[in-house]
């Protein structure tokens, strides 16, 4: 029944500079099934984002394997929305298609439909400066979805927003991802956000990071992220993960 589309095996990453080398990741193993929503949490600076960078081929691993079907495409949603100020919202959403040379009228229609579905159609000819932070984040997600990725990588997608918008947008993004039937891997430092959105959470240790623990999140009455925060198991998970992170101030 479970359809594994990505296997990460013994992933290792070393960063070099003049004076030293830093082992950021060591022995990272995990699997991703279709339609999973996985979160990666860990102490700051532990190399969470590095995993996403390697999966999206922005960086090369020092050792280890990533097993993935050839025809699987990956979409990366960065921490910063990085909307081009000189392009309209629609043009911003089409940039991925332009770069990958898939700008057909059919794909353009798909983007227009996404904009329509998620309430941004009337802004399609506006420039990013006229949008709120939350709307910009939704545009960034649609830009990522435009290339029809099978796996979405989300690097702290809400961290630039204020608390209220974060809650609202995490609901939005969650719904969009589920509606479009995508698989997602999200990096976050926000434990509550991870529990409220994910099916599974990987907790990383301090550098050199390993997967310290894996939690299957089973909430009774699981629905949307905001509602999930009210489930009775929520605080139990929170406490366990908090203890795993072992934060000393």
């Amino acid at each position: 029944m479970k359809d594994t589309i990505l296997k990460v095996k013994n992933l290792k990453k070393i960063y070099h500079d003049k004076k030293s080398e830093i082992v950021a990741l060591e022995n990272i193993n995990f699997e991703v099934n279709k339609n999973d929503f996985i979160s990666i949490v860990g102490p700051s600076g532990c190399g969470k984002s590095t995993i996403l960078s390697i999966l999206s081929k922005l960086e090369k691993q020092s050792d280890g394997n990533i097993e993935m079907d050839k025809n699987i495409t990956i979409g990366y949603m960065l921490q910063n929305d990085s909307l081009f100020s000189w392009r309209t919202i629609l043009e911003n959403c089409l940039i991925g298609l332009e770069v990958t040379k898939q700008l057909t009228s059919e794909n353009k229609q798909y983007v227009l439909d996404l904009l329509k579905t998620y309430g941004l159609y009337e802004f399609k000819d506006k420039y990013p400066s006229s949008l709120s932070g939350g709307m910009r984040q939704r545009v960034a997600l649609i830009r990522t979805l435009a290339i029809k990725p099978d796996i979405l990588l989300l690097d702290e997608p809400m961290s630039a927003l204020d608390y209220q918008s974060r809650l609202a947008i995490s609901d939005d993004i969650y719904k969009i991802i589920k509606n479009e039937g995508k698989t997602a891997i999200m990096v976050t430092h926000d434990i509550a956000e991870a529990i409220s959105m994910s099916d599974r959470i990987l907790v990383l240790s301090k550098r050199p990071s390993k997967v310290k623990k894996v939690y299957e999140i089973n909430l009774t009455d699981k629905s949307t992220p905001i509602n999930n925060r009210r489930c009775k198991e929520f605080s139990t998970y929170y406490d366990m993960i908090w203890r795993d992170l072992d934060v000393h101030i």
Binding site: L58, Y76, L78, S82, F84, I95, G96, V99
Partner: protein, 263 residues
């Protein structure tokens, strides 16, 4: 318009008033300066032979205009300025693109660019005459020495300070270097490039006049040189005034282009 509140109307009025005040004072400074200069020379408080006067400048300018030499000299100078401006712009854009696309080359070239840029190029004047000969070529060459390096450096600095997030984003779509350049680096640098061109145009004018002072048979720099040799101060000052007007006009044109791009 009528829907604006009283406060907003007052605000607009204040803005308008400020604009008028600035315009009046600008006008006042130049008019006061010209009248003062004219009066001082009229009542012989300053020596018109040494410092000329507005009426002399006007007379000289109209004389030059009617015998056709004014247009000729301005034309020559403008031709040299535009030629060196265009060449430097092309060289600047191409070199900055090469330096951007290859970090190793840019690191190798960097100290030489700095040296060439800070070297006082006037010092090379006599050499240029020997190498290139006494012609329009040597004037344009002089101007190019002065405007090219600063243009390369300014455009290149704009290119390398392109927002890293933009570049990461394109890389996440596996964009090629060429795509990154045409889709992000160039469009995000329009304003930088125009600023570099603003500096380029003033440098071109400086370079051309410098070249004309060294060696020439025509042009505004030649008029200045010739005027000072025969002690015709009227001619010198007339040429300087015309130069001032030209440089303001050229700056004005590029500024207008910039405003168009900002929209």
């Amino acid at each position: 318009m009528s829907t604006y509140s009283e406060e907003h109307k007052n605000y607009l009025k204040k803005l308008k008033k400020e604009k008028i005040i600035i315009f009046i004072f600008r006008l006042f400074i130049i008019v006061a300066f010209l009248i003062g200069w004219e009066l001082l020379s009229k009542y012989h408080m300053i020596n018109t032979f040494l410092s000329s006067s507005p009426s002399h400048v006007l007379k000289t300018a109209s004389k030059l205009f009617y015998d056709g030499s004014l247009i000729k000299h301005i034309g020559i100078t403008m031709y040299e300025v535009l030629l060196s401006f265009i060449i430097a712009t092309v060289i600047g854009l191409v070199s900055a693109t090469i330096l951007w696309s290859n970090k190793t080359i840019s690191r190798i070239i960097d100290p030489y660019l700095t040296i060439l840029n800070s070297l006082p190029k006037v010092a090379l004047g006599p050499l240029i005459i020997i190498w290139v000969g006494a012609s329009v070529n040597s004037i344009v060459f002089m101007a190019l020495l002065i405007n090219t390096f600063i243009t390369i450096i300014n455009i290149y600095n704009g290119f390398i300070s392109t927002d890293k997030n933009y570049i990461t984003l394109l890389k996440s779509f596996q964009a090629s270097k060429k795509q990154i350049f045409t889709k992000v680096v160039l469009p995000s640098n329009y304003i930088n490039i125009i600023n570099a061109l603003k500096i380029n145009i003033s440098m071109s004018l400086i370079g051309v006049i410098m070249g004309e002072l060294l060696v020439s048979k025509s042009g505004l720099g030649y008029l200045i040189m010739y005027g000072s040799q025969v002690f015709n101060i009227d001619l010198v000052i007339t040429s300087v005034v015309i130069l001032g007007i030209i440089s303001y006009l050229m700056y004005f044109i590029i500024d207008k282009c910039e405003q168009k791009f900002r929209k």
